[in-house]
């Protein structure tokens, strides 16, 4: 089985977001870049599957769409345990353009299982994985919180509103994964970091694609009025405020 894990390169989740160019683009000054959290969990699960030997995994590849500044993200993934990396040399424009670029490589390489995080923590499009599946005409499962080897094949846990399902699906397929897929992301070990330098990282020229959408401006939400403090010995006052001021009880 050949597995592809798609990686987004996103600002660290603790980043205080600022914009430049009169609110038209993210101010990247001082931003630490990380692997999109759900993509990192997807990679972790892929590595666990390979190590478990319960299903035959020949290769785990990772891919990101971005400039040279996205390469540390791929190197980190290789250090964690991916076998090979791809970078499509294009600035991500929107989910469609990114999905299109991934689809070109996915077609060439014929992956059996493609894993994408449920959304990216920057633009929250929640779209790339499912778009990729449609471009490739592959089946997809979304909100996947578990991948389980059972007698040499795979079963999946799909979260539904207020519950979950155990599902099977023919490969090749795209799985859009979320929290629960792996317990904790792996941290690269020194040996992994050394080995990552020897692993192949292929840079591909982008295929012809423009986005369907464009983010034209950003703003920060209006600050909240200050918090009204209530004496811990007077919770009745809180109930009163919730009932008569906020009118929510």
């Amino acid at each position: 089985m050949k597995i592809l894990v798609c990686l987004g390169n996103v600002p660290d989740t603790t980043t205080k977001i600022k914009f430049s160019g009169e609110g038209t683009k993210l101010d990247k000054t001082g931003v630490q870049w990380i692997i999109n959290p759900w993509d990192e969990l997807a990679l972790t699960r892929a590595i666990e599957l390979k190590e478990s030997g319960q299903v035959p995994v020949e290769v785990i590849s990772v891919l990101t769409v971005g400039g040279t500044d996205a390469e540390p993200t791929i190197r980190k993934a290789l250090a964690i345990g991916a076998d090979s990396g791809y970078r499509v040399d294009a600035d991500p424009a929107d989910s469609y353009q990114v999905a299109f670029q991934i689809s070109e490589i996915a077609r060439q390489e014929q992956f059996d299982l493609i894993l994408c995080g449920i959304e990216s923590s920057d633009y929250n499009g929640a779209a790339t994985g499912s778009m990729l599946a449609e471009i490739l005409d592959y089946p997809s499962l979304s909100a996947v919180s578990g991948i389980h080897p059972v007698n040499g094949h795979l079963e999946y846990t799909r979260d539904i509103d207020g519950g979950r399902e155990t599902v099977t699906l023919d490969l090749p397929a795209v799985l859009i994964v979320q929290k629960g897929i792996a317990k904790e992301p792996r941290i690269p070990a020194m040996r992994g970091i050394m080995m990552a330098r020897q692993k192949p990282l292929t840079v591909k020229e982008p295929g012809p694609s423009a986005g369907y959408t464009e983010m034209i401006s950003f703003e920060l939400p209006a600050p909240k009025p200050s918090c009204r403090k209530i004496d811990p010995d007077n919770v009745r006052e809180l109930v009163n405020l919730l009932q008569n001021e906020a009118k929510v009880l």
């Binding site: 979260d159 155990t166 983010m215 009745r236 929510v248």
Partner: protein, 322 residues
């Protein structure tokens, strides 16, 4: 031309969020102006379908075939696209929930229609077509222009109020020709019973590490019960296994927008706040007066959550005469 709204059902029933989405689609169609049509997939009784007429939906297309009981993303996408094409729909709207997130992007590719997911309101303009959505998990808002002629939108949960506008409903049964085979096989289903679903809840009662241990969750559950609320937790709590991961609320867990959110013993790390900042009112109880949760809270108590909770439960019972 039409605005097509996909109205999902849960065991044959709609939810409040369906009617919010219907209200949104109705208003969107009025503004364009265009007719609004709802599409229902799976078996839903006529009486239930007719409820959509209370929110301005005059025409409902119902695809009832038993083959479509299971959500198969490819098959559902083909059905929605076929109906959209028959109607020459200019905009398709879906809920920004599990199934909406699974279908809208596929639909976007199939229809060559630009997608904006998780929009929080009606478009700001139609020429060009500009909508607003949250980015950086609520830390910022973005204006997004859709360049394609056809558009797909998913509406963020709890971002549009139900608007009653009664119209007569025409229901039309429809048999799609392009659906293809269902390949998703569901072997087992587990459904939470007797609990309010976190992403649907108007009130959410949440606990953090300040609750000290999983044995201390009794009062949180009791408070949730008397308020008809859902329970939630912060990331460290789910990581420790004190609570199931489904309850983890925050940037990498569930992003929610209830009317009222209670945070007990939650310090308010930036990632947690990102998942709850769309709540209409936030109540925080924490021993640390400088905890960042108080920066986003509307009401705050500096005190021990374990002491405040029993008193609060009593006070609410008294006020509601339970």
């Amino acid at each position: 031309m039409a605005v097509l709204v996909y109205t999902e059902n849960w065991d044959g029933k709609f939810k409040k969020s369906t009617f919010e989405l219907a209200s949104y689609a109705t208003r969107l169609a009025e503004k364009i102006p265009d007719q609004v049509v709802a599409l229902s997939i799976g078996h839903v009784e006529e009486e239930e379908l007719k409820k959509l007429g209370r929110y301005g939906i005059g025409k409902v297309i119902s695809v009832e075939d038993d083959r479509f009981k299971t959500l198969d993303n490819q098959v559902y996408t083909r059905i929605i696209a076929e109906v959209a094409e028959n109607l020459t729909a200019s905009v398709v709207v879906l809920a920004h929930n599990n199934s909406g997130k699974a279908l809208a992007p596929r639909l976007s590719v199939r229809m060559k229609a630009g997608l904006v997911s998780g929009t929080t309101g009606l478009p700001e303009s139609f020429e060009p077509f500009i909508v607003i959505k949250k980015t950086f998990t609520g830390k910022a808002l973005a204006k997004v222009v859709i360049h394609t002629a056809k558009k797909i939108l998913t509406l963020a949960q709890n971002s549009y109020q139900v608007v009653e506008q009664v119209v007569p409903v025409e229901i039309r049964k429809f048999v799609p020709v392009s659906a293809g085979d269902v390949k998703t096989v569901v072997k087992e289903v587990f459904k939470q019973t007797g609990k309010v679903i976190l992403t649907d809840a108007d009130i959410v009662v949440s606990g953090g590490r300040g609750m000290k241990s999983p044995e201390n969750w009794g009062p949180i559950e009791e408070l949730a019960k008397i308020l008809g609320a859902a329970t939630a937790c912060s990331r460290p709590v789910s990581d420790e296994g004190w609570r199931p991961h489904e309850e983890h609320t925050g940037q990498t867990g569930k992003v929610i927008a209830p009317v009222l959110y209670f945070a007990f013993g939650i310090s308010g790390a930036i990632q947690h706040v990102a998942g709850i900042s769309s709540s209409k009112f936030i109540v925080a109880v924490n021993t640390d007066k400088d905890a960042p949760i108080f920066e986003v809270a509307d009401y705050g108590i500096v005190g021990d959550a374990q002491k405040v909770l029993p008193a609060l439960i009593e006070a609410i019972k008294e006020a509601k005469s339970i």
